[in-house]
């Protein structure tokens, strides 16, 4: 009965669309008009995203963009944070913007280093606050070894109303042929965690093409009895003028988060059959710094999962 109603409603809706569509426009021979959209390629910033489902996966991105540095994004926000820090290494910047704790292996991120949105984003999506309360050391060795010089960890924060916490650390590990230091993003949940690493980039991001080519999706099985969120999406090396991360699912749900020291962690407990539609970074004025569509990648991920 309800399927019949859906069919009937969709037919009505399709007819209404057809009835209200305008006349086809007359084509001019001029170049296409601009509609206000800023293409990603012209923006000049990159971000990387590692999507992690399951336990203890290690993701190592080996590509390093070699193109010329892009100019700093203007985006109407005046001088950006990145412009001030220049080519400073990402890790040095993270250390500068984190404070030591009584535990010498643990530092805590300074959330004030994140630009503040000066636009109303209340209706953009459900906000997931990344809070810095109660830092605790990471409870597992993410690289699996006992004597690997990974420390210190920087506690980024915990996603409010969830059990997921985020950490950053730097890996230098000859055992797995890492010749340049890796910046790793660890997610801890009560029953385990996951880690994604990629080559450490300057605090100033490099190549907008890396937004696409550097995207990595990980999909691991969930061991029986483990209670973890359906989906954890982490952003480890955001452009420093990112004021808001937007993650949209293809069922219409959208989540937003203010990053902390260039990192964000969005947790989805009830993914259901939804997939990721797109991720977007906004600067302090709400301008799009970077955008990435995930539908194709998500479908590919699902197909792999089905084959497994």
């Amino acid at each position: 009965m309800i399927d019949h109603k859906i069919d009937e409603q969709l037919k009505r809706l399709s007819r209404a669309i057809a009835d209200t569509s305008p006349e086809p426009p007359t084509l001019t021979t001029e170049s296409p008009r601009r509609t206000g959209f800023r293409p990603v390629r012209a923006v000049g910033w990159g971000f990387s995203i590692a999507l992690v489902i399951g336990l203890a996966t290690v993701l190592v991105a080996t590509q390093w963009p070699t193109g010329p540095k892009e100019p700093t994004a203007s985006a109407g926000a005046g001088e950006t944070t990145a412009a001030r820090v220049g080519d400073q290494s990402r890790w040095d910047w993270i250390m500068e913007h984190s404070a030591p704790t009584a535990n010498q292996d643990l530092r805590v991120a300074d959330p004030s280093a994140t630009p503040v949105p000066n636009f109303d984003y209340a209706d953009l999506g459900v906000e997931q606050h990344l809070i810095g309360a109660d830092p605790v050391a990471l409870a597992f060795n993410p690289m699996g070894g006992d004597d690997t010089p990974l420390l210190p960890f920087v506690y980024v924060g915990k996603v409010a109303d969830t059990e997921a916490s985020a950490y950053l650390f730097r890996a230098n590990d000859d055992r797995i042929s890492i010749t340049r230091s890796l910046l790793c993003f660890a997610v801890a949940v009560p029953d385990g965690g996951s880690v994604g690493c990629e080559h450490e980039r300057p605090a100033e991001s490099i190549d907008p093409d890396y937004i696409i080519s550097g995207t990595s999706l990980q999909h691991a099985g969930t061991p029986p009895g483990v209670s973890i969120p359906d989906l954890i999406v982490n952003f480890a090396q955001l452009p420093l003028d990112t004021a808001l991360v937007v993650l949209s699912l293809d069922d219409g749900r959208t989540f937003v988060q203010r990053p902390v020291i260039g990192s964000a962690l969005i947790v989805i407990d009830d993914l259901g059959n939804a997939g990721i539609d797109y991720a977007e970074l906004l600067d302090t004025s709400g301008q799009v710094i970077a955008h990435e569509d995930f539908q194709a990648a998500w479908e590919h991920l699902e197909e792999d999962s089905i084959q497994d």
Binding site: I2, D3, K5, I6, D7, Q9, L10, K11, R12, L13, S14, R15, A16, I17, A18, D19, T20, S21, P22, E23, P24, P25, L27, T28, T29, E30, S31, P32, R33, T35, G36, F37, R38, P39, V40, D123, L124, G125, V246, S248, D250, D251, G252, T254, N273, A274, G275, D277, Y278, E280, L282, G286, V288, H291, D293, Q295, E299, E302, E303
Partner: protein, 162 residues
């Protein structure tokens, strides 16, 4: 040099004829993706860019080529969360104005679907295409079409259940 100009003009005319033949269907398709208020811009930009780059003449299925160009342009337009919200609102409003029998929840739910999902819904319910035909038109896998339709229906089922 003059000869090249003449040839280009001839080709352009043929492209325009192809566009005029399918323009009505293309603008309806664009309306299903972005709503009537943005459809003209999407069609204009997509088709003029296509004609400028490769043209429609000689394409095995010019209508499908135009559909793909329009879908790509619509997805590009999606690239602003703020603008997207406003567009979704306008989209749902225009549907409900055209047919008050369409439930507001359904119009809003469809407005929030991704452009590719909306394309699959519209081509199924307006053009009566099969998943295989939609897959050919949009150059995506048949399984993806079925996937999109299943997701859209599941989403609507949840809306209607509430």
């Amino acid at each position: 040099m003059v000869g090249m100009s003449i040839n280009k003009d001839v080709a352009l005319e043929s492209d325009r004829q192809l566009y005029e033949r399918h323009g009505r269907a293309v603008i309806r398709f664009a309306s299903s993706l972005v709503g009537p208020s943005d459809a003209s811009d999407v069609v204009h930009d997509a088709i003029t860019a296509m004609i400028a780059s490769r043209g429609l003449v000689g394409a095995e299925d010019p209508k499908a080529l135009m559909y793909r160009a329009v879908l790509a342009r619509a997805r590009t337009m999606q690239r602003s969360a703020i603008r997207r919200r406003r567009r979704e609102h306008r989209y749902a409003e225009s549907i409900m104005t055209a047919d008050p029998e369409v439930m507001p929840e359904v119009a809003e739910a469809v407005a929030r679907l991704s452009p590719q999902q909306r394309a699959c819904v519209f081509l199924t319910y307006w053009e009566d295409m099969t998943p295989l035909q939609i897959a050919d038109h949009l150059s995506i896998a048949e399984g993806t079409v079925k996937h999109h339709l299943a997701r859209a229906r599941k989403h609507l089922r949840e809306v209607l259940d509430d």
